[in-house]
């Protein structure tokens, strides 16, 4: 392995070298910036955990890019190997920084402030002043003055003091707390879950995976751990602005629910609102949206009722014009399908066609297209309830060959051509979308991030400073030298501090200008030499 000219590093040396590289500040900095860069695609490309529907749409629009993006993990950036690699390296780098620094800090905490340098005048802040007080008095005053905020050590003719150890403590606390937050976040991601369900007003919901429209469990979450909570949506109310420039904006919406924590528990009532979730042990229920479900009655070719009830339509915009699909599986002799829009406050212009002018159901109407044939649900492939597979179906047409559009007002019934059935728009009801979730470890994460903030403030705002006072006998008077050093690259006010200290040690009153008959007033004015 080794060549005669340049001896190669032994594996141990190589490891040590690699460790030093990884834990160096420069590497940590680069990793930090890399992490920022790596997060960018997560905001640009739709993410499958967050917006699965957007991912599907994106994939349809960009068939060529999809395989490449999938290989790169761009649809789940925050779980991708490369993103994980960066933050794991950063964590290791953090630990590699914290551990040795804690050891250094521990030693620094227990060691006394360093002895005074021989030439105090060389320090960034320096004041020399002469006084008639004895050296012992001056040193005693210095000790008294510095005690409290500083750790003070006297040695012969000098007093050495140091303060601001909390700066490094804050620094260490900040970095340790960051690790705690990252671990708590990872724990929550692994053991938590998040699901969404649409519940019709008047209907109930039980906390089982089958009841969810979408369910995203953490990779280590066990569905058996779902708390057996159930609830019924008793009522839902929404109020919209009926005037002014923001007409149509919702003012408030909320749902009254009755819930049981366990099947045996007593029923309780709760008013669910945005920003007012139902928080129970291991589960939180949030109101995140609402919409309309038109009530329809569909009769088939035999004249029997093939479907009667509500159909959930999804709002497409803030006017709550909603799209939905009606699949009539029971219809004979052929299955029937409808898709189209529900308009809560129907209006029509030649330019725009039908649209909704207001989100409340003031003048509801439906506009549907109808199909007959095979709905394709027997193939076994799972189908979305919001999509109609018309590949095996034929559209109803008017005599002129154009698609037959069924425009329905409440109570109106339309017969389908060829005696294949009829559809009646009976009315409408509302549904609410609830999000049910649990993120374990959130308390730890919150504590961690608060501690991190505390540590951060300590590491930014605590000043680590040293001060020395030395006395020298000269011609029967005492030369007092005071010097200061800032160890945190924030030397504002250091001069003032040293000057104040000097003033305090040569006189009993804080102001050197009113001294007691000694030459100190002059000293304060003339002899005092401040150097930066």
């Amino acid at each position: 392995m080794s060549t005669p000219s340049a001896p190669a590093m032994s594996p141990v040396e190589l490891l040590r070298w690699a460790w030093r590289q990884l834990t160096s500040m420069r590497t940590a900095l680069l990793l930090l910036l890399l992490l920022a860069l790596a997060a960018v695609p997560g905001s640009v490309v739709p993410q499958s955990d967050i917006a699965p529907a957007d991912v599907t749409r994106w994939k349809e629009q960009h068939p060529d890019l999809t395989p490449l993006y999938e290989r790169l993990g761009l649809f789940s950036v925050f779980d991708s190997p490369w993103f994980s690699a960066i933050y794991l390296l950063l964590m290791v780098s953090l630990v590699g920084c914290i551990v040795p620094r804690t050891a250094v800090y521990w030693r620094a905490l227990r060691s006394p402030p360093p002895a005074a340098p021989r030439n105090l005048a060389r320090l960034p802040a320096y004041v020399a002043v002469e006084t008639d007080d004895t050296p012992a008095t001056v040193l005693e005053r210095a000790r008294r003055e510095l005690k409290g905020r500083h750790r003070v050590v006297s040695a012969g003719t000098t007093v050495a003091a140091e303060r601001g150890h909390l700066r490094e403590a804050g620094n260490l606390l900040f970095h340790t707390a960051i690790i705690v937050v990252l671990l708590a976040f990872a724990y929550g991601q692994l053991f938590g879950y998040k699901g969404g369900a649409i519940v019709l007003v008047g209907k109930g919901f039980s906390n089982l995976t089958t009841q969810y429209d979408e369910f995203a469990p953490g990779s280590l979450f066990d569905p058996a751990d779902l708390p057996p909570v159930s609830f019924t949506v008793d009522d839902f109310e929404v109020e919209f602005l009926t005037e002014g420039p923001n007409q149509g904006q919702p003012v408030d919406f909320g749902a009254d629910i009755t819930y049981r924590e366990t099947p045996e528990a007593a029923e309780k009532e709760f008013h669910l609102e945005v920003n007012k979730p139902l928080v129970l042990d291991g589960i939180s229920v949030f109101l995140v949206g609402h919409g309309y479900a038109p009530l329809v009655t569909v009769r088939d070719g035999t004249g029997e009722v093939a479907y009667r009830g509500p159909v959930v339509f999804l709002p497409q915009d803030s006017s709550f014009a909603s799209f939905g699909v009606i699949k009539v599986l029971e219809a004979q002799p052929e299955q029937l399908g409808f898709d189209g829009m529900f308009f809560p406050t129907y209006s029509f212009t030649m330019e725009r066609g039908p649209f909704s002018v207001f989100p409340d159901a003031l003048n509801p109407a439906m506009s549907l297209l109808a199909y007959h044939g095979d709905l394709g649900v027997d193939d076994g492939d799972p189908q979305s309830v919001f999509e109609l597979d018309t590949s095996e179906m034929e559209q109803f047409e008017k005599a002129d060959g154009k698609p037959l559009r069924l425009d329905l007002a409440p109570g109106k019934k339309i017969e389908l051509p060829d005696g294949l059935g009829s559809i009646r728009f009976d009315g409408w009801q509302r549904w609410v979308k609830v999000q049910v979730s649990d993120s374990p470890g959130k308390g730890v994460a919150l504590t961690g991030v608060c501690l991190a903030l505390l540590g951060l403030m300590g590491s930014l705002f605590v000043r680590r400073r040293r001060a020395w006072v030395r006395v020298t006998e000269r011609d029967g008077r005492t030369l007092v030298e005071v010097a200061g050093l800032d160890r945190s690259a924030a030397s504002e006010g250091l001069d003032d501090e040293v000057r104040r200290l000097a003033a305090a040690v040569v006189t009993t009153t804080p102001d050197p200008g009113v001294d007691t008959g000694t030459s100190a007033p002059d000293a304060a004015g003339d002899d005092m030499e401040v150097k930066r």
């Binding site: 997060a39 976040f185 408030d252 949030f286 995140v288 903030l453």
Partner: protein, 325 residues
Amino acid sequence: MTTQEFAAFSDNAVMFAGIVFVLAVLAHLAEWAGSIARPAEVPAGTSTDAGGSVAVATGGDDEREERRRLRIETSGRIGVALTVVATLLLGAGVVTRAFASEPARVPWGNMYEFTLTGALGCAVIYLALLKHYRLRWMGLFLTGFLVVVLMLANLSLEQQAGPLVPALHSYWLVVHVGAAILATGAFAVGTLASVVFLLKERVQGTAGSRLRGLLDLFPASDDLDRLAYRLHAVGFPLWTFAALIAGPIWAEYAWGSYWNWDPKEVWAFITWVIYAAYLHARATAGWKGRAAAILAIIGFASLLFNFVGINFFFGAGSMHSYAGG
């Protein structure tokens, strides 16, 4: 006063604030123009050095120099005075905006209002620190920046006053957005210091440039660097609180999950990471000064993108989209 009257008053106050800021820009421009010395006419520094021996010859120069200084000083003072007036007007506009909807609410319910309040935050921080840190050199940059911001707010973000959407019915709106606006103000002023730091470095490199007279207006590079650091050191904990504490707590209450990788969250995180890198860079010898200043500017760019860009480019894709215009 009715809500409509409050709304109209607010719009007017903001408009006048914009106009007065433009006047402040002109005053600071005059200050700058006076500072750009003609190298042939005023050989900087020599007139005072040689003062003793050629007293008669330099007498006229001294007088001219004195007049020039007075002109610069006066323009600068006028600029600051106009900035104070404009800030008061803007403050009145922001406060009355709060009363322009029924019931009254914090004036940061949509992008237009965030922008107004953020601009007010920048102006207030500048004025508050003006005396202690002698920030007048920043005047032209700051007023220019605010004019652009107010213009953009009026052109592309303006929205009629109205009540909050239900998603914002929470006192966390006050805490979360308030802290974010304060942090933005501190970062904005800090970034200006970093920009000037880089400009100064650039101009110093070009010997004999007429721009060199300008350098007298600016503080020493070290002071600029330290000022930038101070402001970022204040902004960073505020941003940490806004984006990583108050935001997630509210998200947990409103959306059921404290971190959702929403585009706005992702970019708030990116911004946080860049500023964390800035603070580390300041602590690392090789990255001080220039590299740190560049990082600060990148950080602010990312902050601005998060503030405006997310709502424009991602729109409905972001859960923060109710903030849009």
